[in-house]
Symmetry: C2
Subunit: 323 residues, 2 copies
């Protein structure tokens, strides 16, 4: 089988590519383990090719429907659609967010529909689809009420994935992600970028600004667990998810103050002194509209696994990135 | 002020036009009563002009963005966006449903955004945005899980209206309607068309097929109450609805068997004999995914009014249409 990852040069795209290459197979729609013959990594910038002959690096814009059509064929039976404009940027540039988060997702689904081969499409959504007056723990039955353009666009794309799946055009799976932490590298334009930044930068001995009050509760997942969930979500049989294609993935509920305590415990009190709390109204407004926890019973019943604690998340990040 | 009604030749569009012409004013964004100087009725076919000099009848397709731009101006400060492809047709013709129910709504909102005058936009949505495993009475906090393309498209357009309003591009109000009964005239391609048909045709002495089991519970409203709600929803001040632009309108919860009993009570046992129950799988699958009741407390607190009983709905229909 050929596998496409959109956003293939991104952090999660690259991590997923690494895991898929090491694993070498996916479960196809017949429930049979099938070797990955080609892994197409599409992004605006060239992805790492892992020096692996199965990897095909493609540069292009997923909003360009012609490029998408050229990349797809009936042999591409698994698509991980990770490409997105992140929350802060989608709030600043409304049209760009609509073009990538909604329109490009639709082009991709329509191209699959035209081919008619019903590929598995794994779409990553987010805590940002929720908002407004939320219960302490969000349930699968809780209404979406997004308070950002990013969240609105993700919620619309979720509806598309579900309807295209119901109509039999694709075999979609929508995985709603907690905020991913700790992301290595640099800060990005996600409103939640600080959720990684207040851990990553202090460990490096660098200053980090926390733009929200420390009482804010966030729902987080490590990158490793998220990528394992992408693969697990792909491999599930259609019958297991046909009543709803949307799954709220496991996470850890933690306040920003608790994140700082965990960092202090793991890395010492000097490290935490690099964080300065300077609330930023726009970021706070967006991030505090997201749930601090959701019920992940359905995900766990379906075999998805979460992190055990935030301490473990920090410890694993340090082990993977510094040693 | 100039007022635009899309779907202006449709049954609800014409009823709304009639009420607006008789009333003569709407409450503008400043909270001030303002006379209607022009009422633009846009539809694929020419609307009735009511022999009223304020009416401007326009034929055109709302999916044609050029036509929409030509119709709109900064003087059009109130838009009732009723045009839609109904549920049965949107299920049969996926692309047409997407083009009208989603894309045309977006063109309309984008045209308003370009003009920059923040008109009031009243958008009609539907019970069809709900679906799946629903509680007996749906709450405002209940998740949408549409089981039809029509419901998915309406849900996406709701998200657009909310986000465009949050961004300050329009002043939107999403009114979720119960199934409207009794519609005069002929059957249409809505999956719920029978909810009018099983009353309207028997009263005329004509045969009518009920395509669902009579135990099915439906959430209904008379056309008059719906149109009053459009005007009331328009006139509400922005501050009253700014936390959520989406309002579940009042209705009456009734089973199909109860509808038939009510018809028998009002029109006699001979009339009811014109109904034959012949379940149709596609129609039943769509209609039974809709809620049989929702909590309309918020709507009533905001001053929306519902019908008092299904008997009253039938009686009013007979009074208005036969006498």
């Amino acid at each position: 089988m050929k596998v496409l990852i959109t956003g293939g040069a991104g952090f999660l795209g690259q991590l997923l590519a690494d895991r898929l290459l090491k694993r070498g197979f996916l479960i196809n729609r017949l429930g049979i383990s099938e070797p990955i013959s080609e892994l197409i990594l599409l992004d605006l910038v060239p992805a790492n090719d892992f020096r692996d002959s199965r990897v095909r690096v493609c540069t292009g814009n997923i909003a360009d429907s012609v490029s998408i059509k050229q990349l797809l064929s009936k042999e591409v039976t698994s698509i991980f659609h990770l490409a997105a404009i992140v929350s802060g940027q989608a709030e600043q540039d409304f049209d760009l967010g609509m073009a990538i988060n909604l329109d490009a997702s639709r082009y991709l689904l329509d191209s699959c529909r035209t081919l008619g081969h019903i590929p598995k499409v794994i779409f990553t959504s987010s805590v940002a689809v929720y908002g407004g007056n939320l219960p302490e723990v969000v349930l699968d039955s809780t209404a979406l009420n997004p308070k950002s353009s990013y969240g609105s666009q993700k919620a619309m794309a979720e509806l598309l994935l579900n309807d295209y799946s119901r109509k039999g055009y694709v075999d979609g799976r929508v995985l709603r992600l907690p905020t991913i932490t700790v992301r290595p590298g640099k800060a990005n334009q996600a409103a939640s970028s600080f959720v990684s930044g207040i851990i990553r930068e202090p460990i490096k001995g660098m200053q980090s600004i926390c733009p929200v009050h420390t009482s804010l509760r966030v729902w987080v997942s490590s990158p490793d667990r998220a990528v394992e969930s992408f693969i697990h979500g792909h491999d599930l049989s259609t019958s297991e998810i046909s009543d709803s294609r949307t799954i709220n993935l496991p996470g850890v509920s933690v306040t920003v103050a608790e994140m700082m305590s965990a960092l202090e415990k793991v890395s010492g009190s000097q490290v935490v002194k690099h964080i300065s709390v300077e609330p930023n109204e726009m970021i706070e407004r967006i991030v505090q509209s997201w749930p601090g926890a959701w019920d992940d019973t359905r995900a766990k019943n379906l075999g998805f696994k979460g992190d055990t604690s935030f301490n473990e998340i920090i410890q694993n990040y340090i082990t993977a990135n510094l040693i």
